[in-house]
């Protein structure tokens, strides 16, 4: 044998698309070549509430190169209402004359070139009838109500157990606080892009999509087509974070435009449209009450939330969803409300519900710890839930105690040595804080075709999407492991509804669900090859037991006597088989005896300039239980990225609405600040997960979302430790600490 065999799962291999990306050859949706494509540009509303009294498109229509101008007056009727949330809103674009938020699309201009379309869009004259906008959550709060419709059907608006009110009343120690979070944006680097072309009733869409199958269905419904008539292709995605989890108006409009002008049409959002029209995490106000005994045992939690929602839809940000799972507390009541604001519909943003929800609860836990004079880590250990406290079921795996232990050791956590506001280093106030995080692990049906060819190469085909997290690479590793070949022999085709259906790349479902499909497919190929060999009199493995055969580096061999064996190449060649292929299908259980979740613990050191009150996260240790780590390099990258992403939300990011009109005044990267390198301290991500086949056959769980939960509270708690001042409103800007 020429090289030593390394198990592909867990190996720190580079990304399969790395070279293409760093050399600029990688193809993103906006790079997909399209002969003769026309360009579409949306005409944005200048007001945030009201109606279009009149819209004059004559001058735009006469402009050079213009092919069509679509408005609510001449747009062909949509044929169906796609299901929420994969189409995000119950109002389809250009449906009527109503204006619900600033920058809403009022017309679509299609022209030969982008510049012609942009110019003509500026010639569309709109006569507005001004409405009375509700600018922000504060203005709307008094009218908050329990949401109805498809969003609350998916995300329950109430959870209860025991009698939380009575338990609170009799609790010797209580915390009762209100927390606020700002409207924040995914701010992906790549603005969404769509390229649509029709061939008769057959529609092909290239779309920046985190879920090609779910989105195909939404598009097919809007056009009244069977799903088979729509092919949706997602090339590499330049950052998703949920921004591309749902379809938004522009995707439908591009397809509609292509039908109207009978040519392929490309529509790429501008930066402002990304901020205003493709979702965001809504502003929230949350009240948390905790009741506890003097020894720290929790007796009650209540969690009441209200979030801003768009005029068209009641979307409750599911901030209460994990509260029942957090701690072993007997009495609990959680309730979600919404309040109408003139802003676009919010969407799933890493990490939906759990980032803001656990910010509130985990800050309250810290407040309780200080109230009790107890180490916040100890308080969490004390209320640790071995089983799921709501369902009583065991977890498929829960190594949160191990996260605490490893994180505390790595960080050097020790509590009680310094009173809040007393630790100094030179001109800096120094503070330590911690928090934990939990995320329910979701699953979706997934399929993958895996094949090994007689030339020794292998291929995976599955409609997953590469959104930047390393999916293509980890799926290659899973296939390589199942087949017993080196990952560099394996290629992958993804992001296309013509492929076997993968899970969407949101909800952290790739590793567990798509990964399991690939795993099962590869194992089936392996078993088929082994059976072929052991029944073949010409094979050195003839007569061996199936279980006694292993495959390493493309060679089938006897575990007990590795010198006996043969390669896939020889085996397939001899049998005249060009390629051996099998489909792996992963079907999540309907009713499960276990609860699945991922866990994290965060330990943070902040340094705060004593006079200028600027907060820096100097050190951050995050420890995660996401089952088996498929690739330490991509996992570390993903986790550190998620931690930094959440640090941005905690310290600097906010979409600011104008206090009168509600139009966003920072819908540009000039003012919507995400962290830059100079803001990033020593950020470490560690993993304590182990192979967890009880969660999914592949033994891995999701990581993309758990890595952004628990950071904001850990930072806010550290800020309290540093300054003695509780900031209960994100982002923690210097003003709030003056």
């Amino acid at each position: 044998m020429t090289r030593s065999w390394v198990e592909p799962i867990g190996a720190n291999i580079n990304r399969v698309e790395a070279l293409a990306k760093v050399t600029g050859r990688a193809v993103y949706t906006a790079d997909v070549p399209a002969q003769g494509a026309a360009h579409a540009v949306q005409v944005p509303s200048q007001i945030s509430a009201g109606r279009v009294r009149r819209i004059d498109t004559r001058e735009a229509e006469r402009a050079t190169g213009v092919l069509a101008v679509l408005t609510h007056q001449n747009v062909p009727r949509w044929r169906g209402q796609p299901a929420i949330p994969y189409y995000a809103e119950s109002r389809l674009p250009l449906s009527d004359d109503r204006i619900h938020f600033g920058n809403q699309c009022l017309a679509l201009v299609i022209a030969d070139t982008l510049h012609q379309a942009e110019y003509a869009a500026s010639l569309v004259l709109v006569d507005y009838q001004l409405g009375q906008p509700v600018p922000n959550l504060d203005a709307a709060r008094a009218d908050a109500y329990p949401p109805t419709g498809p969003y609350p059907d998916r995300f329950p608006t109430e959870h209860r157990r025991g009698d939380a009110v009575a338990a609170l009343r009799s609790a010797p120690v209580r915390v009762d606080r209100e927390y606020r979070t700002a409207t924040i944006s995914h701010a992906p680097m790549e603005p969404s892009s769509t390229l649509a072309s029709w061939d008769g009733d057959q529609l092909t869409l290239h779309d920046s999509s985190q879920g090609v199958f779910a989105h195909r269905e939404a598009v097919a419904t809007a056009f009244g087509l069977p799903v088979e008539s729509v092919r949706l292709i997602s090339s590499l995605i330049g950052g998703g974070f949920g921004n591309k989890s749902y379809t938004w108006g522009h995707t439908l409009l591009a397809a509609l435009a292509a039908r109207v002008v009978r040519r392929p049409v490309r529509l790429t959002l501008n930066r402002k449209e990304v901020f205003t029209g493709t979702g965001h995490m809504p502003a929230m106000i949350q009240r948390v009450r905790l009741g506890a005994r003097r020894d720290g045992t929790l007796t009650a939690i209540t969690h009441d939330t209200v979030n801003a929602t768009s005029p068209t839809d009641d979307r409750n940000e599911p901030a209460i969803q994990s509260t029942p799972a957090l701690y072993a507390v007997p009495n609990l009541a959680a309730r979600a409300q919404v309040a109408k604001v003139n802003i676009g519909t919010s969407g799933a943003m890493r990490t939906p519900g759990d980032t803001p929800g656990q910010f509130a609860v985990e800050c309250a836990m810290d407040e309780l710890a200080y109230e009790l004079g107890m180490d916040p880590l100890e308080l969490r250990r004390k209320n640790y839930a071995e089983r799921h406290p709501q369902s009583g079921k065991p977890f498929s795996g829960k190594r949160l105690l191990r996260c605490y232990e490893v994180g505390a050791a790595e960080f050097g956590w020790s509590w009680g040595e310094a009173e809040p506001g007393t630790l100094r280093d030179g001109n800096d106030l120094v503070g330590y804080g911690m928090a934990s995080g939990i995320r329910a692990e979701h699953s979706a049906p997934a399929a993958a075709r895996v094949e090994i060819s007689s030339d020794g190469t292998a291929e995976v085909r599955t409609g997953t999407q590469e959104i930047g997290g390393g999916t293509l690479t980890t799926m290659v590793q899973v296939a390589a492991s199942g087949l017993g070949v080196s990952p560099d022999r394996v290629s992958i085709k993804a992001g296309d509804t013509d492929l076997p259906q993968g899970a969407p790349t949101f909800g952290s479902m790739t590793s567990g669900s798509t990964g399991s499909a690939v795993h099962l497919g590869a194992r089936r190929v392996r078993v088929a090859a082994i059976r072929l060999a052991i029944r073949d009199t010409q094979s050195p493995l003839h007569g061996a037991e199936e279980d006694a055969v292993d495959v390493r580096d493309g060679r089938l061999l006897l575990r007990a006597d590795p010198s006996r064996g043969e390669t896939y190449v020889d085996l397939l060649d001899r049998h005249g088989i060009g390629a051996l292929r099998r489909v792996g299908e992963y079907q999540p259980e309907e009713e499960s005896a276990v609860e699945r979740a991922t866990f994290g613990a965060h330990f943070v050191e902040v340094r705060i300039d004593r006079q200028l009150s600027r907060v820096r996260v100097a050190r951050h240790v995050g420890v995660f239980d996401c089952g088996r780590v498929l690739n330490e390099k991509t996992a570390t990258n993903q986790a550190r990225g998620g931690m930094i992403f959440a640090m941005g939300g905690a310290l600097m990011e906010q979409l600011v609405p104008d206090p009168v009109s509600g139009r966003l005044i920072t819908p540009a990267l000039t003012d919507y600040h995400v962290p830059v390198h100079a803001d990033i301290g020593d950020v470490r991500a560690l993993f304590v997960g182990e192979h967890e086949p009880e969660a999914h056959p592949v033994g891995a769980k999701g990581l993309g979302e758990i890595c952004s939960i628990g950071i904001a509270p850990a930072i806010a708690n550290a800020v309290f430790h540093a300054t003695g001042k509780r900031v209960r409103e994100l982002p923690i800007t210097p003003e709030k600490l003056l």
Partner: protein, 284 residues
């Protein structure tokens, strides 16, 4: 849109005179943003990057002439010893890409109160050389700024160069942003000590409708500093200086920061930069 690319200064001035609605563009790091956001739709662009007379810098009798198309990167690389304050400020501008293109003249042309060149130019008493086909004139920097994004530049004039005296003592610059790089100043402050004349220059950014000096603070400090004895800086003196700087500010509330924070932070920056500069003076 017309695009002019003169290859001599004379030609540039002639185009400027003939077509005052042609927007000058040097690095383009402000102009292109304005176009991109559809805030400006100039009839024409007048690209100055092909004009040889305004590249680079020269020195005469302790005065540095910075050509209008000299980039921040070049200022940092070539003038950090002579113009430490301006070089410090230049280092905080945008990103490497922006510093490679952006110019101090463009910063003046844009006239934003948040521009990072302004505090050092104010603190060092720089002059702006303006030219048109009618002739040339020289303005002291504090006369150049008229209002928010309004300057003394006439419609037919171009900035030819900025004249800055080589440092005659320690200089410092400090800036606060909502993050640590790639950020427009929440507020900024520059100080220049002139060891020879025993005077002090200051410049405040993002603190008023125009960049400005804190003249009371300057006068106070020139008088109060123990120039001869080189004593350590007295805390009351630094505090008083900070107060006077803050008093010179008339900031606003905006998305980057509140007026209250700006005033507070300016006092802090003033005390700090003075402390650094004074230490350097004492040890020199």
């Amino acid at each position: 849109m017309e695009f002019y690319r003169p290859t001599s200064w004379r030609e540039a001035l002639e185009i400027r005179a003939a077509q005052p609605d042609a927007l000058p563009i040097t690095g383009g790091t402000d102009v292109m943003v304005e176009l991109n956001f559809d805030r400006a739709r100039p009839a024409a662009l007048l690209d100055l990057t092909g004009v040889p007379e305004i590249t680079g810098w020269s020195e005469r009798e302790g005065q540095i002439q910075i050509g209008a198309s000299m980039s921040y990167t070049a200022i940092i690389a070539e003038l950090a010893d002579r113009l430490p304050c301006l070089a410090l400020a230049a280092r905080t501008v945008g990103s490497p890409q922006i510093r490679n293109r952006g110019t101090a003249a463009g910063n003046l042309g844009a006239g934003s109160p948040a521009g990072d060149s302004h505090p050092p130019l104010l603190a060092t008493g720089a002059k702006v050389h303006l030219e048109s086909v009618r002739g040339s004139r020289e303005l002291s920097i504090d006369q150049f700024y008229l209002g928010v994004k309004r300057t003394a530049l006439e419609p037919d004039e171009l900035i030819r160069s900025i004249e800055v005296p080589a440092a005659r003592g320690p200089q410092q610059f400090a800036k606060i942003g909502t993050r640590n790089a790639m950020v427009i100043a929440v507020c900024s402050f520059a100080i220049a000590l002139d060891a020879g004349s025993r005077t002090v220059g200051t410049g405040l950014g993002s603190a008023a409708p125009t960049p400005r000096q804190a003249t009371d603070a300057q006068d106070f400090l020139a008088e109060a500093l123990p120039w001869a004895d080189r004593d350590p800086l007295a805390e009351e003196l630094a505090n008083r200086f900070g107060e006077l700087v803050a008093a010179a500010a008339v900031p606003i509330d905006d998305v980057r920061g509140s007026a209250r924070y700006r005033r507070h932070a300016l006092a802090v920056l003033a005390r700090r930069t003075l402390g650094w500069a004074w230490e350097e003076y004492r040890c020199a």
